[in-house]
């Protein structure tokens, strides 16, 4: 008793609709790339948005898709930043793209090792452990002063041209184009990943780990995998920071950075990939504006925004991003899906 072909087709298309590109998404990337030519005088802040967006995308992979709350995601960001800066400073790898990859791999290795710490335990122990790992790395970077420059940061880093051709300039022109391309490629990978059976299984692990394991999914295995991948993304984001600013300091590991990151993701909304990117845009422009008023009290505004978001409700705050969440496609396919019902009742 095979189902009728139409039912299969509809089901296939409905599943595929999850991954279909929306006009709004296409528009988003066109604008992002057009900014290379349209807003040359904003490239410095746009570069910051690009790596912050990538960093938040990385957090979205573990928080939005796997449900792991982390207060120490800066550990991977920082490791990536220091790796890239050290590679350039000691002229071990001069080509930025290659150094970026190595930084990402280093962060992935750290992610893999520390993933075992976040497998067990409650949200609280996860908070602790992630926070602890970041603090530990910060302390490490601080103590290894002969290598990392300690509290002064790693100075005198000079980054060679990308692919030997594109020299970094002080206006961030190369920096932005470079960061945006890296962000876009990693975004494509992430997009592919979350729309795959693997991505779906992450949602199941987040939603109901008990049942996920009862249908044969290795919950631990999935968490380790996504934590490792996300760490790599964060490491590359950190490496982008180091390469575009020729600098790495202890601040890359700071708690504030991990906490800000949570805010970035929450402003844009977790669990649909664009949240981190949208959040990064809002966050950076907000920071630009507010810290110009009173740089010292900038944390106050961050705190206020966090409290307000929670009091009002995260869903309500981010409801305007709905078009990005592919609600539209679900509605379209709902109509088609009725055919399945119709065709299957006809047969009876």
């Amino acid at each position: 008793m095979l189902p009728p072909p139409i039912a299969i087709r509809v089901a296939t298309e409905w599943l595929a609709a999850r991954a279909r590109w929306q006009p709004l998404e296409v528009g988003f990337w066109i604008v992002a790339f057009a900014a290379i030519w349209l807003f040359p005088d904003r490239h410095l802040i746009l570069t910051e948005i690009a790596w912050l967006g990538l960093f938040a995308l990385s957090l979205d992979l573990i928080l939005g898709y796997a449900g792991i709350i982390s207060l120490g995601h800066a550990a991977f960001f920082g490791l990536g930043a220091y790796t890239a800066a050290l590679l350039a400073k000691y002229e071990i790898i001069n080509e930025p793209v290659l150094a970026l990859l190595v930084a990402g791999l280093a962060a992935m290795a750290l992610g893999f090792v520390t993933s075992f710490l976040v497998l067990r335990g409650s949200d609280l122990t996860r908070l602790m452990v992630t926070l602890g790992v970041a603090l530990l790395l910060r302390e490490l970077a601080n103590r290894l002063g002969w290598l990392t420059g300690g509290a002064d940061g790693l100075q005198g880093v000079s980054i060679k041209p990308v692919l030997g051709m594109f020299r970094f300039d002080m206006f961030g022109h190369t920096g932005y184009a470079y960061s945006l391309i890296v962000l876009f490629i990693l975004f494509l990978i992430a997009r592919r990943l979350v729309n795959s059976p693997f991505g779906l299984s992450l949602l199941s692990v987040k939603g109901n780990p008990l049942r996920a394991s009862a249908i044969g999914i290795s919950v631990d295995g999935r968490l380790i995998a996504i934590y490792t991948v996300a760490a790599g993304f964060a490491g590359i984001a950190g490496a982008l920071l180091a390469q575009t600013t020729s600098f790495a300091s202890l601040e890359v590991f700071s708690f504030d950075r991990s906490a800000d990151l949570l805010l970035v993701l929450i402003i844009g909304g977790a669990g649909y990939l664009y949240g981190g990117l949208i959040g990064a845009i809002i966050f950076k422009f907000m920071q630009d504006y507010l810290s110009a008023l009173t740089p010292q009290y900038w944390p106050f505004w961050i705190g206020l925004v966090l409290v307000v978001i929670v009091m009002v409700g995260r869903d309500r705050i981010t409801s305007w991003t709905a078009p990005f969440r592919r609600i539209a496609s679900h509605l379209n396919w709902r109509a088609l899906a009725r055919h399945v019902a119709a065709s299957s009742s006809e047969r009876r």
């Binding site: 089901a11 999850r18 199941s204 996920a212 009862a214 679900h330």
Partner: protein
């Protein structure tokens, strides 16, 4: 008689309570085995132990003679031990299509595919749709599970286990909470299972138990109390006293 699943002196202690007390149970290959007992007898606990959701305090579990006591839940699923839950355990934010799709791709070892878009394997989708239709879920394939009526959720609960192609299926009160007139869909699905699938059914409804089972074990206070064919169990005065007695009195 070939034994599919066997427990040897299985013990599970919670703080103060002995939920499984030296349970040595044998379930024959292809059996339609029922496990009955009053509330709190330790039936669900036994299934939790068999599937690795909980670790036994003592004792061993064998599948086809192999010791599986130390295997994790998902490893046991891969060996063919699959269960349903007394209280629905579903993925509230996913649709039935996605839910069944998950189980099928996992069973085929494609759950780690990260470069492939969901639904890009026609044969997989065909199988998923077939299961959904068999369980009368075709009209709700794109609804969030959370918004489905209870009867549909219960069907999905069982369909999800079937999608794993179990060799040993452990059903924990599959018809619990389902209205009388919708029960037959669930029971029919259970009855339609291939004969070589071994089934252990927990059920309070004696009509269902006696129409289904070829063997019955009675669990009381965590310990196996009586075991035998339906006729033997029905005749056993001790069972009447502790269990059927209550049922009859209720009726």
């Amino acid at each position: 008689m070939a034994v599919a699943l066997e427990t040897i002196n299985l013990v599970k202690r919670f703080s103060g309570i002995v939920a499984s007390n030296n349970v040595s149970l044998q379930i024959a290959k292809g059996a339609r085995h029922a496990l009955i007992g009053p509330n709190g007898a330790g039936k669900t606990t036994l299934i939790n132990l068999l599937t690795g959701v909980q670790r036994p305090t003592g004792g061993r579990i064998l599948l086809d003679g192999e010791d599986i006591t130390s295997l994790s839940t998902h490893e046991r699923v891969r060996l063919g031990i699959v269960r349903t839950f007394q209280i629905n355990q579903l993925f509230n934010d996913l649709t039935p299509l996605e839910t069944i799709g998950l189980a099928v791709s996992e069973r085929r070892g494609q759950g780690l595919d990260w470069w492939r878009i969901v639904g890009s394997r026609p044969d997989l989708v065909a199988e998923v749709v077939e299961i959904l239709e068999r369980f009368h879920l075709a009209d709700v394939i794109d609804k969030r599970t959370a918004v489905l009526p209870y009867g549909k959720q219960r069907l999905l609960e069982i369909a999800l286990a079937i999608a794993c192609r179990p060799r040993v299926l452990l059903l924990d009160e599959p018809a619990a909470g389902v209205p009388e007139d919708e029960r037959h869909e669930i029971l029919a699905a259970v009855a339609a299972l291939p004969a070589d699938v071994t089934v252990l059914l927990i059920e309070h409804d004696m009509d269902i138990v006696f129409s289904f089972a070829d063997r019955i074990s009675v669990l009381v206070n965590g310990a196996l109390f009586v075991e035998g064919s339906p006729e033997e169990v029905a005749r056993d005065p001790r069972v009447k006293a502790v269990y059927l007695g209550e049922e009859v009195a209720d009726a």
